[in-house]
């Protein structure tokens, strides 16, 4: 066996393998998927009860509440991203696997987004109705939430990787991620508000898209480096 034939992985096989396994795990433990979704729905439905159901107030605060709830729900689910793998030793297997670690980390993040970010996007129209959001604005909100949750999952994976070796790293994780997540929140909530006020909102969508692309290209490397450091 010489060096060139020893191993030649396809770059995407590791991505699909990890994503597939994590989706399978999520399928076998649906509770983990439903938790953040439940949290999201709860915050969004409790808020009007607390501040009062007047129409103007709901219309005014709707985008902000939905976005804050989405951000917090994503943070809530991030802690477990690498924790299970760390505890049962699969993380070691990923670290010594012949696949590039950033690709494996991206596969895990993809599965995380599919099981936490995407469900939020699909549930959000139902909650938007309770805030009297006009139908024309709902697609804008879904689009911004899609782009925003992609960024949040990717940025969050860096924090999750850094805190994986610590016990109860949730608070630290939130602290690490929030500064990076602020632009997403501001852009997302304001874009939806602008759309609701019949203003031009496309700038915000482009900016969110740019943020998502930047996270997509940089975060996997940072996550891989963080995993190596925190697993030393």
């Amino acid at each position: 066996m010489n060096e060139t034939t020893a191993f030649q992985p396809g770059i995407l096989s590791g991505l699909w393998a990890t994503a597939r396994r994590d989706l399978l795990l999520a399928w076998k433990r649906p509770g983990d998927v439903l938790n953040p979704l439940f949290f999201f729905a709860m915050v969004c439905t409790l808020f009007p009860l607390a501040v009062g159901p007047s129409a103007e107030q709901l219309e005014f605060s709707g985008p902000g509440v939905l976005w804050v709830a989405a951000l917090l729900a994503t943070l809530l689910s991030l802690n477990s991203l690498f924790l299970g793998d760390f505890e049962d030793g699969s993380l070691d297997q990923l670290l010594v696997s012949p696949q590039p670690l950033p690709v494996l980390a991206l596969g895990k993040t993809l599965a995380h987004w599919l099981t936490s970010g995407l469900p939020l996007v699909f549930v959000s129209p139902l909650l938007a109705i309770t805030y009297r959001m006009p139908w024309s604005v709902v697609p804008v909100m879904m689009l911004t939430l899609t782009l925003g949750t992609i960024s949040l999952s990717l940025l969050g994976s860096i924090g999750a990787a850094l805190t994986v070796g610590l016990h109860r790293g949730t608070a630290l994780l939130s602290l690490l991620i929030l500064p990076l997540a602020m632009p997403v929140l501001l852009l997302g909530a304001n874009t939806v508000s602008l759309a609701a006020g019949n203003d031009i909102y496309s700038t915000g969508v482009w900016a969110l898209g740019a943020y998502a692309v930047a996270s997509l290209s940089l975060a996997p490397y940072a996550t891989a480096a963080a995993l190596r450091i925190s697993n030393e």
Binding site: M1, E3, A6, P9, L25, D88, G89, D92, P98
Partner: protein
């Protein structure tokens, strides 16, 4: 196929403690490297350092005379790692767990049936791992070694949780692997009864 694993001047410091200093070794195909020492002396740390999971204070590990740092993927493609924590998912069954391993290595099914029979795990394939006993989980983890078909086995305490037959089986498997031209690095604190040329490192 002839592979070598060697190291020069390895020093590892964890916190305030120096676990080992100026450590050298060299093993080639067909040879066994055993790491000995009492609990907590740094056997696992040395294993992790060799596998590239811990960064060393000084020194370099070589695979086929080339530094591992320069060819991480080739090196990791040539080794299989088995430690105390097996890396198997409790919620998935045996086939799903092994399937994941296979897709990471992009391997075909191979002769999986005979491996299952040999390890006595052929009846466990559809059961979730968490419902198996520790020894059974260990045997499933051993299947990873046989299915991986790579030259270097790195085994950290491979006899944990195994019964007498299981321990004998591990020794047989390692023996056959070495006879096939493989290499094995093993951390163990019990006597290992393997006839292959053996290098022992005792960590103080």
């Amino acid at each position: 196929m002839n592979s070598t694993l060697s190291a020069e001047n390895l020093t590892l410091i964890r916190g305030e403690r120096c676990l080992f200093e100026g450590l050298d070794f060299a093993v080639k195909s067909g040879e066994l490297l055993i790491l000995e020492g009492r609990n907590g002396c740094g056997k696992t740390s040395l294993m992790r350092a060799i596998a590239g999971m811990l960064s060393l204070e000084t020194g370099e590990v070589f695979w086929n005379q080339r530094p591992v740092r320069q060819q991480r993927q080739v090196f990791h493609g040539s080794l299989v790692w088995l430690a105390h924590r097996t890396g198997l998912k409790g919620d998935l069954n045996m086939l799903e767990n092994l399937q994941f391993e296979r897709s990471l290595r992009q391997q075909s099914e191979g002769d999986a049936e005979s491996v299952y029979l040999r390890l006595g795990i052929e009846r466990l394939r559809k059961l979730p791992m968490r419902s198996l006993s520790a020894g059974q989980q260990r045997r499933v983890a051993l299947a990873r070694l046989l299915l991986a078909d790579v030259p270097l086995w790195m085994l950290d305490e491979p006899f944990t949780n195994l019964d007498r037959e299981g321990r004998k089986l591990v020794m047989e498997l390692v023996d056959e692997h070495l006879a096939d031209g493989g290499l094995c690095v093993m951390a163990a604190h019990q006597d290992v009864d393997i006839d292959a040329p053996t290098t022992k490192i005792r960590i103080q």
